[in-house]
Symmetry: none
Subunit: 148 residues, 2 copies
């Protein structure tokens, strides 16, 4: 960056010098002052733009780096796998709540059904997953991509 600023100053100096040098040649020309001003303006404008881009271009890349980390997969319930295993939506729901550490009673309250119903659902889902315990069902559910 320092190099670019120095370079910029240098070019400026050279231009000034060139300006002075050409002064004696083209000053006689009509409207040379306008051409002159335009030339200088254009040159410095280009240089300025270039410098501006350089000035922020590097910084920009650092900021960009933040994008990737939070990404990844938000996890979308594997509908296909669920159907492959013949697990019904209600059973799936039950399984999810089991995975959250809820008891049958709590699940029953949350789903507005009787505890017996929850038992039925869980039993069936265990069967379909090949699990003997709820903890195992959770473990298998994850392996099958049914649970996060």
């Amino acid at each position: 960056m320092k190099r670019q600023i120095l370079l910029y100053g240098l070019i400026g100096g050279i231009l000034i010098a060139a300006l002075k040098w050409t002064e004696y040649r083209f000053l006689v020309m009509e409207h040379s002052i306008e051409i002159y001003g335009g030339l200088v303006a254009a040159t410095f404008a280009v240089l300025g733009i270039w410098l501006g881009i350089k000035l922020t271009g590097k910084q920009q890349r650092v900021v960009i780096k933040e994008i990737p980390p939070p990404a990844g997969e938000p996890f979308l319930p594997d509908q296909r796998k669920r159907e492959d295993l013949g697990i019904t939506p209600r059973e799936m729901e039950t399984l999810e709540l089991i995975a959250q550490g809820m008891s049958n009673r709590e699940i029953a309250e949350k789903l507005f059904v009787s505890e017996n119903t929850v038992k039925t659902h869980s039993s069936r889902v265990f069967d379909k997953l090949g699990a003997k315990r709820r903890t195992q069902a959770v473990q298998l559910g994850k392996e099958f991509g049914l649970l996060p």
Copy 2:
């Protein structure tokens, strides 16, 4: 963006006009041409830098960097967190096996201890995690970074 470019051109035009207008006043001055040139150069340089910054500042440089996190963490058991919670190694071991879906009996066999001992460990670990059920302990264990 278009607005800025137009503005830029406008300012350029105004400067040229001003240049022409002042021409009749300061042309008589000695070295006015250098001052002039420098002034114009400085003005356009500043404008150029500003424009350059504006030009790239808002642009999202979508540099699609490779995503390290997904393939990244092999998961290292959080030793600190475990000790923070006052969970002993043996209790941790028990928790891990619980998370794998094993029953107390299976865990007992695997660890060569009695089932009662496993119960003691699990009870203690539940207590330390604030869990009431093993499924909940697993869930909390994950949240605490104790389990994968």
